[in-house]
Structure formats: structure tokens, C-alpha cells
């Protein structure tokens, strides 16, 4: 499970925006903007980090509870899957 090569995270106008570099046109309604924890998770995912490690990293970075971190990671990965940003191989 890894973020596909064609998706890049860029800082534009003080927002972290995910851009599909393959797309012929950027869909106005489907632009994904990430907050600080989203950006953090995105970068770890790009490095190929797995779910368990992501949860630990999130806890370490933001000092949140285990249950919250697990929920956040699951939700984030699901969102990326729905958008088609993830490679399926695990």
C-alpha cells in the first residue's frame, strides 16, 4: 500500500493540495487539501510506512490518544483509496 507516483502534494497559497498529475483537467470539486496531520501522514505513506507505524508516528508527532490516532489513520487511508490515490498492493 503506497501513494501512486502520479499524485503529488504541493504547497499552494498556504494550503497543502494533492494534485493528480495525470489528469487532463483538475476537477474543482475533487481537490484534496490536507491539514497538518494529513500532510504528515501523506509524507509517511509516500515513504511506504504501514498502518501500525503510521499510528505510532501520529501519536508521537501530535500527542493524541491511541484510539484517536487509529481512527484518523483508517479514515485518512480510506479517503485516499476512495480518491484513487493508493496502489492496491499491500
Amino acid at each position: 500500500m503506497k501513494i501512486k507516483e502520479e499524485y503529488v502534494l504541493q504547497s499552494i497559497a498556504d494550503k497543502w493540495i494533492v494534485i493528480d498529475t495525470n489528469s487532463k483537467s483538475v476537477n474543482f470539486n475533487k481537490v484534496l487539501a490536507l491539514n497538518a496531520s494529513g500532510k504528515f501522514l501523506w509524507e509517511k505513506l509516500e515513504e511506504g510506512m504501514k498502518s501500525d507505524a503510521l499510528v505510532s508516528a501520529l501519536i508521537k508527532q501530535f500527542g493524541i490518544a491511541q484510539a484517536t490516532a487509529e481512527k484518523d489513520v483508517d479514515k485518512f487511508i480510506q479517503e485516499l483509496k476512495d480518491l484513487g490515490c493508493m496502489d492496491n498492493e499491500s
Partner: protein, 229 residues
């Protein structure tokens, strides 16, 4: 032929319709002086079935130019660019959204205005300042003027056409709109060059979004708002 396009010495192969389109941009000099070289050996005729040689030369030279322009702190925007009182006002948006219509309305309101490009003007950031340029890539009607002007503002036209309303663009919609109107997308490498330019553009130039009835009121509203900058 050697041309000066967006203040860049550009070698344009004298192929197809580009000979006449580039006449206004041609400068004295030798091909080896070019800073930016377009190569007709790389024109992809197979990509444009049914198109004649003129059109393929137009599309392919444009495609090469806008990719290479990214190396000169520049981008091409799918937009109509009009100069009024020495400043460039851009209407940007997808095909058929009304860019030309709005440029024509401005022309009617301001007879002294100049439509410098009705399809793909170039924008460049020089010493922290943005300029709009006419280019030989100016769509079907070919309207273009070889000139440059400080960029005043960009108005993204929305698909909503039941009212006149202009506002400072929501940053996310502006980013998405500007990227989708930029002509250098398509690969990771290009996006990595384009995104920082769009970032500068959004921080340095006012970006608006407009729902428009495409009438005189709309044009006046757009101009008055963009003028305030």
C-alpha cells in the same frame, strides 16, 4: 525562425501555419542564439489524426513552448488577456466558458483596450513582478498582439450563469482553477515546476471568481473589481 516570445529568444521551426503566426515575433539573429528551442522533429503527428500540417505544427509547437516556458519562471494560461490603461486583465476558464465573450465586452466598454491574446497568453514572473504577454498561440481566431504588460488581476469564470457576482476566489478553487487552466500539466516533473509558480501567482496577484450573465453590467463589474486590485 528566431522569435522573441515572452522576452525569450525562441527558435520556432518554420513549419506549417507557424510561419505566418510568428511573423510579428520574428527577430534578427541566428538559430544558435535561441534560449528556447522548439524541435519539429519531435512533432507528434500521430497524436492529431485528421488534423492538417498547419494545425499539428500549431498544437505541437505550443505544447513544447509551454513545457519549456516553465524553466523561465513562466506559464501559459488558458485565458483571454486584455490591456486597459497599461495593465493586463485576464479572464480564465475552460473551453466554452465565455473568455472571449468577456474580452469582447471589455473591448466595447473600453475602445482603447487591446486584446493581446484570446487563447493562451504567457505569464512570467520577473524580479517578483508578473507580466502578461501576447503569444503566437492564440486559438482559432488568431487574435494576438506582440506586447507585454504588468498583470493586474485574473478572473476565473465559473459555470454559473444566472447572475452577476464577482468575489475574491476561494483559495482552493483558485488553485484548482489556475492549475486546470495552465497548459503545462501532465507529468510529475511539470507539476513540480508549475505549483511553485501558481503559489507565487496567488500570493502576488488578485484572483477572482465570477458568475456572469455575460452582459455589459458583468463586464463593468469585472473591470471595476479587478481594477481595485
Amino acid at each position: 525562425m528566431l522569435c522573441l516570445i515572452a522576452d525569450i529568444k525562441t527558435y520556432v521551426p518554420a513549419v506549417g501555419g507557424m510561419v505566418s503566426r510568428c511573423r510579428e515575433y520574428q527577430i534578427e539573429g541566428e538559430a544558435h542564439e535561441a534560449e528556447l528551442v522548439l524541435n519539429d522533429a519531435l512533432y507528434r503527428y500521430e497524436l492529431w489524426p485528421g488534423m492538417n500540417e498547419n494545425d499539428v505544427a500549431y498544437m505541437e509547437s505550443g505544447a513544447q513552448f509551454y513545457v519549456k516556458l516553465l524553466n523561465f519562471d513562466g506559464l501559459m494560461l488558458h485565458a483571454s488577456a486584455t490591456i486597459i490603461d497599461g495593465e493586463a486583465f485576464l479572464f480564465a476558464g475552460q473551453c466554452g466558458i465565455g473568455k472571449s465573450t468577456h474580452a469582447n465586452l471589455l473591448k466595447k466598454l473600453f475602445p482603447n483596450s487591446q486584446l493581446i491574446n484570446d487563447d493562451k497568453p504567457a505569464l512570467r514572473r520577473l524580479d517578483g513582478k508578473w507580466f502578461a504577454y501576447g503569444t503566437p498561440w492564440s486559438g482559432k481566431n488568431g487574435i494576438n498582439i506582440n506586447t507585454k504588460s504588468p498583470l493586474k488581476a485574473i478572473c476565473l469564470l465559473t459555470t454559473r450563469r444566472d447572475r452577476n457576482n464577482i468575489q475574491v476566489a476561494d483559495p482552493l478553487r483558485a488553485a484548482a482553477g489556475l492549475i486546470s487552466c495552465s497548459t503545462g500539466r501532465g507529468t510529475r516533473e511539470r507539476i513540480l515546476k508549475l505549483a511553485p509558480l501558481i503559489d507565487h501567482l496567488m500570493k502576488e496577484i488578485p484572483i477572482y471568481e465570477m458568475d456572469s450573465l455575460a452582459d455589459d453590467t458583468a463586464a463593468r463589474m469585472a473591470y471595476n473589481t479587478m481594477k481595485m486590485g
